[in-house]
Symmetry: C2
Subunit: 299 residues, 2 copies
């Protein structure tokens, strides 16, 4: 099969054996492409993999898109790709390859959990949740072996989880959980803490405007007091969010991935401890917590 | 069909036409029955409905149980019925009626959402959530037309939702959401508020130990300041919990039921307003909030 992961800035594609081994891999920057140009890049990339594959039988093409896939219409809404408000990707791919391969499109969240179920930490699971923490926060939900899409194909928008009161105006654009605990969220919390004198920090010598999540993790590694408070806060929220999904959906496994896991992978045990304080005990007892084994390859 | 709703203290049964009209109805207290005596009461009740039905064709029996139904083993865990730790109800009913009717057992949460989907507020919906607020808090989840059971058959344990920090020791036995916003939760919050001098209240003349949720609602109707603060707090939490399910599962409808809805039904608009402050906006825009149309008949 051919797997294509469309991001906001680049396209990654790979040719897989039926066993899931990567036979070939390619990456292309989107550059200034928009609208149909991005569609054309996907078709062109898939076509070149078809040609290079030669003898390898390719029976399916799967594309993960950074946004919402409207399964009923076969169209994609991708906020970071200009002109992709309702882009007819399924029709375009089916026209090009439908005669020789099965074509599937899915949101990146759905692709992540399906990737983990196929080859990663959730192998063989029928009830599994992928929590992606990066620039944003989203979840892929597998319930009874099927991906949860929701009525408007936007299920898994866990960046909007309400985890602490009061509701603040700043949550309006991205949600409470994402505001505090995404990659940019760590920076926002650090900036808020820098405004008070409570914690000492090497970050006080930095311009708060140029601070990154990497800076926070780097300061943490040097024993920084403020960075430690930022991460403690995030661990508490990651634990609460995971607990809420455990209590609600009673899954076998919660897989953490995305750019922040990554450096936050080492806190998995502490996140589990936090979740255990909140979650339904029967479900909490049987669920496993894991970090994505696939990293950027999950899609 | 015959529908049987087993509660912790009584058994309600009804004979339905294929269109869902109630043809006959009966109720029996459990009294001091335990273990197989409760099973025998269910069989006896169903048998008498079979006999009284005479000409009406009965092709199925559905039983809603107050606890966990382990679908793999066909057994029931019901914390409020002595001897029902792993009670083989499906086998008992199949032995008695399997030759002439389809037998189904489900947790009360699952039965509530299926009842609403069949005859109530969620008629025809494929993605719907029933939030039951009474002595406890639980949810029935319908995703893509199927009830979510979870890996250990305990999905929907939303009484354990983590909605405000810090985590308190008192949440350990019932969960954060249920501690504050179930029927007994309203009383707990009222008692905590009575301990401070912040609000005036007619409830100050009462023994806090004998206070009930009904007392809180009765005081509210008289314009009581403390009762009003208790209900404001609960509305905020009901809204947050609903918002979290909207963001996570993107359903068509959220149905509030259970003993507290009931008297809290009039706050549906305020709960919706609270949820809108927190939830993913696309999902929030398309979801409907409703109060159960079936009341005690949902099961």
């Amino acid at each position: 099969m051919i797997g294509i992961d469309l991001g906001g800035t680049k396209l990654s594609a790979a040719l897989f054996s039926p066993e899931g081994d990567v036979l070939m891999r390619t990456t292309a920057p989107l550059g200034k492409r928009s609208g149909p140009e991005v569609g054309a890049l996907i078709v062109e990339t898939a076509r070149s993999l078809f040609e290079e594959a030669e003898s390898a039988a390719i029976d399916s093409i799967g594309v993960a898109v950074p946004g919402i896939y409207h399964s009923g219409r076969g169209t994609v809404w991708a906020p970071n790709i200009a002109g992709w408000n309702d882009y007819p990707l399924l029709a375009e791919l089916s026209d090009a390859f439908g005669h020789r391969a099965r074509v599937e499109v899915a949101s990146d969240r759905a692709a992540y959990i399906l990737g983990e179920e196929w080859l990663g930490a959730a192998r063989g699971c029928r009830n599994a949740i992928f929590i992606a923490v990066g620039t944003g926060i989203g979840a892929g939900l597998l319930v009874d072996g099927r991906v949860v899409q929701g009525e408007g194909d936007v299920a898994g928008a866990i960046g909007w989880l309400a985890l602490q009161r009061p509701c603040r105006d700043v949550y309006e654009s991205c949600g409470c959980f994402e505001y505090h605990a995404s990659g940019p969220g760590l920076v926002r919390v650090a900036r808020e803490m820098l405004e008070s004198a409570e914690y000492s920090s090497v970050l006080r010598s930095r311009d708060p405007e140029t601070l990154t999540a990497e800076d926070v993790f780097a300061a943490l590694d040097k024993g920084d007091e403020l960075a430690s408070a930022v991460i403690d806060d995030a661990i508490a929220l990651w634990g609460m969010a995971a607990a809420n999904m455990v209590s609600l959906l009673d899954p076998e496994i919660i897989v953490f991935g995305g750019g922040v896991f990554g450096p936050a992978a080492r806190f998995l045990d502490r996140i589990h401890d936090e979740a255990r304080r909140w979650a339904q005990p029967i479900s909490m007892h049987q669920v496993r917590f894991a970090v994505s084994e696939l990293g950027g390859d999950a899609g």
